[in-house]
Symmetry: C2
Subunit: 378 residues, 2 copies
């Protein structure tokens, strides 16, 4: 019923659609590890629940949770959210979940990338990641969607596509020797083209400052629609983020997309800079082998880490003066979407944001056609 | 998305269809506990996999497995079987899974009965049963099927319906004080009518001899279609099963179904009697609190414990001379079904058989209608 396909998406006529294209729904995971989320993950759970509820106003949401936390998650989440048992080592569905691809006739399949917890034993964020590694496969099987198994380490947060042949990614992440050390840039690009059905990869050097994902592009910039990009920004030239955003702006301004268009680029001024408070750091269990959360550490805060739902934009907010500005800019750029701000500092404290904890499933038909019974039934 | 409904199936126009009616598919669970299944459950897993594979020739099969055994189950099972993460304390989907109900327009919902491991702390088979208790809810939520929560202990193996208003059950099980001690026979009957949409309950006194389920009807007799029942039988008057089968025959012969029909009854001579061998008993981990498997104990072996798939009948066999006889009788009675014998002694050693480890989902539409997006999407 769920096939592991021997070919690649491009060979079969599939492409990764833009996040702004219609969705069948959204997938999430439930946070619970106390060595990454403070206070036994309770504040993060509230934040995740608010995100799930916000998205569920626009499209169906399925949230995966371990057997241990099933009843609690079911209790906290609204009935409109579907809760399924689905183990993971943490809760980053963007990065360990499948990347869905579609074809012209509306069929949906998924890519199950290799996952090594953002760097494996050489800089990864925790050990083990055995359950994370099974999430994509389990999601695809639950949906009865065909599965491409990519022999290639990739996290969903490290790529953004316009759905029309263009991909955004960062060298900091994709060329990091702790991902695919045996592959050069051209080989990696060829794999991205083969699996995502793109023709042009726009390489950006670095992601957001102090982003523990090795600079995922989804915290730096993204497509609002083909030809239109938003970019996290700071006017403060003394902030190292300024140089990162400026070099990104220069590259995006000088390139053309796969269809030959110049990109329209809009800046979203970052919040903060924000740092972990002593109280927040104190609430995290200190465990050997998991990235520590230390007071004073800079948080990789960015408004770009939003989720585009059907007719909605779920925007992380931080209780900062910049929150309203970001919402207003996005509202003006996306008159067809409702902007829904969700307080997200508790998600940020765990190392990512709303985009990192979600994964869209594009509209279309993932179900295998059931075989007819071999004999006439009653 | 998955609603817990405040009403009852009958109030909403739903009924439990007969197992012989068309299915959307079949649900199973994966055996793994070494204190019930010998040799770390490996032989049972092979038998369950053979059952899943046999059913998958006729209809889609979904098998639930714990995170621990996921990769092993996925490896053992054919690709045609959908494997999902779904924890349970053991592997009896018939008894802890949902009972599906349908209405005239093809909608499918499910009943989530209370479950207490066949008797709770007063004669139940193991402790705890916390994960079993969540199986029905999780299945219904995965299917996006509306859920009726019945405040009433019932296992699916203790009932059989003809889909036309008649229910078969046993007093030994349903009136056992370790199930619903506060309820009398009339009250229990009223609940069966309310939840299953039946009008007539045929009470049989006892189930198969030494059946640890408190005499589930699904090991004793079942409907092949409305008006036609098969009954496990022995000609050996010295076997205590003879009296049980004889009293059942007398009741079935003298009653009428909900539509006023006399029942046509066919005997299936039991195998054996079969007993646990010393080697088999030795392979089971002895754990305080779990029903022991002792050498010489009689197995509740019955050919009636088959599963009706779309166009198929999956028949347990025991390597006995009676196997071929049972298959021949059923083939003659069901010319429209393919009879598929599956060796099932390893399942029987765990306390049940093919019907006990399966649960049919009737054909129809369980999916909630997705709400339209609140604003126009791209």
């Amino acid at each position: 019923m769920t096939e592991t396909l021997p070919s690649t998406p491009r060979a079969d006529g599939f492409r990764m659609p833009g996040e702004f294209e219609p969705h069948a729904g959204c997938w999430m995971l439930w946070p619970e590890r106390g060595d990454n989320w403070r206070l036994g993950a309770r504040p993060a759970q509230q934040a995740f629940a608010a995100v799930a509820q916000a998205i569920a106003r626009f499209e169906p949401v399925t949230l995966g949770v371990s057997s241990r936390q099933y009843l609690h998650a079911r209790d906290v989440l609204p009935a409109s959210v579907r809760v399924v048992e689905l183990s993971a080592n943490d809760s980053w569905m963007r990065d360990c979940g499948p990347t869905f691809v579609v074809n012209e006739s509306g069929a949906v399949r998924g890519i199950d990338w290799e996952f090594n917890a953002w760097g494996g034993l050489n800089g990864g964020l925790y050990f083990p990641w055995d359950q994370d590694s099974l999430v994509a496969r389990k999601v695809l099987e639950m949906e009865r969607a065909g599965r491409y198994r990519a022999d290639f380490v990739l996290e969903g947060g490290s790529i953004h596509t316009d759905g029309q042949g263009t991909l955004l990614t960062t060298e900091e992440c994709l060329l990091n020797p702790n991902r695919n050390p045996g592959l050069g840039k051209a080989e990696i690009e060829a794999r991205l083209e083969e699996y995502l059905g793109v023709e042009q990869v726009i390489w950006l050097p670095r992601g957001v400052v102090d982003d523990e994902t090795s600079g995922h592009v989804d915290n730096l910039c993204c497509f609002l629609r083909p030809g239109v990009v938003v970019l996290t920004w700071t006017d403060d030239a003394s902030d190292p983020q300024h140089a990162v955003s400026l070099e990104t702006l220069e590259i995006l301004s000088s390139c053309r997309d796969a269809r030959g268009r110049r990109l329209e680029i809009h800046k979203l001024h970052q919040p903060g800079p924000l740092r972990i408070t002593p109280e927040e750091a104190e609430g995290v269990d200190r465990i050997e082998g998991t990235l520590p959360r230390r007071a004073g550490d800079r948080l990789a805060a960015s408004y770009v880490n939003f989720y585009l739902a059907n007719g909605g934009l779920i925007l992380p907010t931080f209780g900062e003066g910049r929150d309203a500005e970001a919402a207003a800019i996005l509202a003006a750029l996306c008159p067809e979407r409702r902007i829904v701000p969700v307080p997200a500092r508790e998600i940020l404290l765990g190392g990512g944001n709303i985009h990192c904890i979600t994964q869209q499933q594009p509209a279309g038909q993932p179900h295998a056609v059931p075989k007819p019974p071999p004999a006439a039934a009653h």
